[in-house]
Symmetry: C2
Subunit: 109 residues, 2 copies
DNA sequence: TGTCTCTATGTCATATCCGACATATACTTC
DNA sequence: GAAGTATATGTCGGATATGACATAGAGACA
């Protein structure tokens, strides 16, 4: 994937809507990254909706606060597996996951 | 995840509809496994629809035929990341992915 | 039968991801 | 300012997923 810079970009305020289209990423890679960012948003929303702290969520999924933090900041070292696991652990359902896949969360404009 | 047996089960004819509910898996793990199986089906369908061999797909995504084979047989050593990457590489779109997430592909009955 | 194509399975060295821990920053409330 | 809570960041040893390769099985076609 490359993308060591991705984290910085995202941390700098990027939401989504075509991250890699301006880095050197292939279409396929870009689609995966965008997908991850969407789901990351969904995880944070789901977690906050249920009033869980990152520590709470980490415990529920047998992980650590730092991993959850990295997850939510779009750190490239976090796998899709872990993101989806976090989503479910935060109380999200498969239907909600499906919905999260649809909304491309406000393109920057 | 544990699931060394999962592969055998799936290979033995399982499609989906609650695999882990009868193994010792937690809800969260079960949901992830079911999700993977659904997407695996979607990958195979997408690949075949475009008349691609496993080798073709492997080349498109910079992987190997054996990995694609393992992927499609539900081998536990295959990550969600790779599955989704394969789906996109096979020509699948984000919308199609979203749809694939919805249909729980004919429960055995 | 021989050969071609496609798919499945097993193994292995290496790359990547993991949880854990330490530590830093930010925001409350006292 | 001290203490408490929530989140972010860096690092590290160990765990897991990776592509590559070898090989085997199954079907088509001659």
């Amino acid at each position: 994937m490359s993308t060591a810079k991705l984290k910085r970009l995202h941390a700098a305020g990027w939401k989504t809507g075509g991250v890699g289209e301006f880095l050197g990423l292939s279409d396929e890679e870009t689609m995966l990254v965008d997908l991850k960012l969407s789901l990351v948003d969904a995880v944070r929303q789901s977690r906050q909706k249920r009033g869980l702290s990152q520590i709470d969520l980490a415990q529920r999924m047998g992980s650590s606060q730092s991993r959850v933090a990295k997850l939510e900041t779009g750190d490239p070292s976090v796998s899709l597996d872990l993101i989806v696991r976090a989503f479910f652990a935060s109380g999200g359902t498969r239907q909600e996951l499906q919905r999260a896949l649809g909304g491309k969360s406000k393109v920057a404009a």
